[in-house]
Each structure stands twice: as C-alpha cells, then as structure tokens.
C-alpha cells in the first residue's frame, strides 16, 4: 500500500491516478459515516462527493499530525453535522419522537425477510433514533475500528465524553432493541 506522504505529494502534483486512489481508498469510510449520520439516503452520494471535494481543496492544510483517514473523517463528520443541523436543527441534540425513515426494503413482505435482514433493519431504525454524535461514534468504533483518541480528535470531543457517549448509545440501543424485541424474536 502506498504511504500517505507519497500519496498526498502525488495528488498535489496533479497526478490523476493518485487522486483516484485517494477516493477509492477512503470512500468506504466516508460512506459509512454519511450513511449512519444522515438519515436522507437520497443525499448520501452528494454528501460523500462534497466531503471529497473539500478534502482535495484543503489538502494543503494537512500537516501529517494525524492519519489521513482521521483528517478525512473529521471533514466527513463536520459536513454531516452541518447538513443535519441545516435540515433539522433539533436532530443534532436529540431526536426523541421522530419516527425513523422507512427502511430500504419495506415494500418487501415481512415473511420474505431473512431473520438476519430483519434484525439489521430493526437495528437501523433504532440507530436512527439516536442523536447524530452517538451514531457517528458507533460507526467509527464498531465499523471503522478506530481508537477512542482518534474518535475524540475527529469529533473534537474529550476522550471521556467519547467513551461516555459510546456506552450510553449502546445502552440505549440494548434497551430499545431487547425490550421491543424479546430474545426469542431476535
């Protein structure tokens, strides 16, 4: 795998292959963050594109003090949060009564679902009820396997707060998920 200094250098020299490599290497991370933080799935691709355009625009400011993925994730987080605030100002703080958006496959009859798909759908619905920062922390910790200090840097939060939010998010999910759907249903 190409190292970050080389990659950034080549991008700054205007090498199209390096630019493409950068997008392809990190598009999964950005997509995970966007799709978990922003409920409107029609906007996901545009937001991801916006994140990468901002990254290319500000690449000169990258000082190699953190990993490139951490730096990019911070841009993705800020972009998502700004979007969510613009769309629904209350969503950033909390989202107590808002029903989740219908899942992708709601038109399919429930008896056609596999058990696993059903569980994933329920989890998605419950995650959407959580505040946006909780959703981001869950994504970065569980999907991207980032460390607490990296998440703290991305979200500009104290390390203790990150840990606390993660625990609270999981506790909330556990309560909602396992109370609503008892063990045998899961």
């Amino acid at each position: 795998m190409i190292n970050e200094t080389t990659l950034v250098g080549r991008i700054q020299k205007g090498d199209p292959r390096a630019c493409r490599h950068f997008v392809e290497q990190y598009q999964r991370l950005v997509f995970h963050m966007v799709s978990r933080t922003v409920p409107e799935k029609n906007d996901w691709e545009d937001i991801c594109q916006d994140v990468f355009l901002k990254a290319f625009q500000h690449l000169d400011h990258f000082r190699f003090e953190s990993r490139l993925s951490t730096w990019l994730a911070r841009i993705a987080y800020n972009t998502c949060i700004n979007y969510v605030k613009k769309k629904r100002p209350l969503l950033h703080d909390d989202n107590p009564g808002r029903p989740p958006e219908p899942a992708d496959n709601t038109s399919i009859r429930p008896d056609h679902h596999t058990e696993q798909q059903d569980m994933a759908r329920r989890l998605r619905e419950e995650i959407l009820r959580l505040p946006a920062p909780y959703r981001t922390i869950l994504t970065l910790y569980h999907l991207e396997e980032m460390q607490y200090h990296e998440i703290a840097e991305i979200m500009n939060l104290p390390l203790g707060t990150v840990k606390n939010y993660l625990y609270r998010a999981r506790e909330k999910l556990k309560q909602q998920l396992f109370m609503k759907y008892p063990e045998e249903a899961l």
Partner: protein
Amino acid sequence: MMEKHVSDHDIQAFLDGSAGNLEEQIRSHMRRCDACQEKYRQYRELTGMLAVPPEMELRPGFAEKVLHHPDFPIDFHPEFILPYLFSLIGVIAACAGIFIYLGINPKDYFSVLFNLSLLESVRDLLDTLSPAVKPFLHVFSGRMDMILFSLLALVVVFLLDRFVLRGLLPNSGKPSGPSFPVLI
C-alpha cells in the same frame, strides 16, 4: 467480593477489554449471576450487529464522478497526461507507417470513412475567400504521407527526449521532490 450486579458501564468495558483491574471480578461475578450473564450476552450480540457494514455501498465510478466534478480543485499536471496522449499519437503514426511501407494510399481507405467531397467544398470555399491560403493548401494536397511522417518524427523526438536525453543531463529527467513508485 461484589455484592451488587455489574453495571452496564462495567459490562461494556469488560466487553471492550478496557475494564482493567475489574476484569477478573466481573468475570467471577458473571459465573454466578444469570442476570449479568444475560446482560453481557445482549451486549455481545449488539456489538456483533453493529460491526456489520451496511448492505449499500457507493456505486462504481464514484471516484470518476468526484474527479470530473466542476468544482474539483486540482489541475492535472500535463506531465501525467502527456504520456497517454503521445501513446495515442504513436499508435496512429505506427499505423500510418505500415500504410506507407505497404504502398497503400491512406486516402483510399479514409475516403470510405469520410466524405472527401465535403473537404473539397471547404477547400474551394477557402480558395475563393482568400488567395493567401492557396499555397498552404497546395502543400498539403496529396501529401498525406508527409504529414504522417512528420507525426512519427514528432513521436520519436518526444520519446528520445523523455527516455534518453533527459537522463543524460544532470538534475533533469525527474520531477522535483521525491520519486514516486507506481501507484496501483
């Protein structure tokens, strides 16, 4: 000895491997306590589910979309584009060379593809518009082979410059800054 149940916080820390000194206490308590064991099982199941990536992904070609966006801020350096352009010219020149070597007039073949009478009309039009273009047109009429040879010579010069001459000169032939390995 722990009398109370293990808190949600501690069970999560145990699950993440960050319970520290409490780890052994929590483990021994859970061996005796069904309620805490059940809580631990639920958390384990939940974290397993959270680690499953979403089924949807960005569609293929996303990177191209970003690179061709009107607001894309980086100008691609000609150094990275010219080799592709010159490769194309090289292929065309090679084809032309084969045509000439075999004594085939490319015009006979191109006339199948292009309507040359249209070119003749344009030439007549230019002819009437300005007598100054006459000598220019005269040079090119019936001299397709010359044009193709010129192109071929251009390619040879470029290749010589890029791969031979630059290497002979000190501090040239390489872009400034570190040298870069092939990316993908």
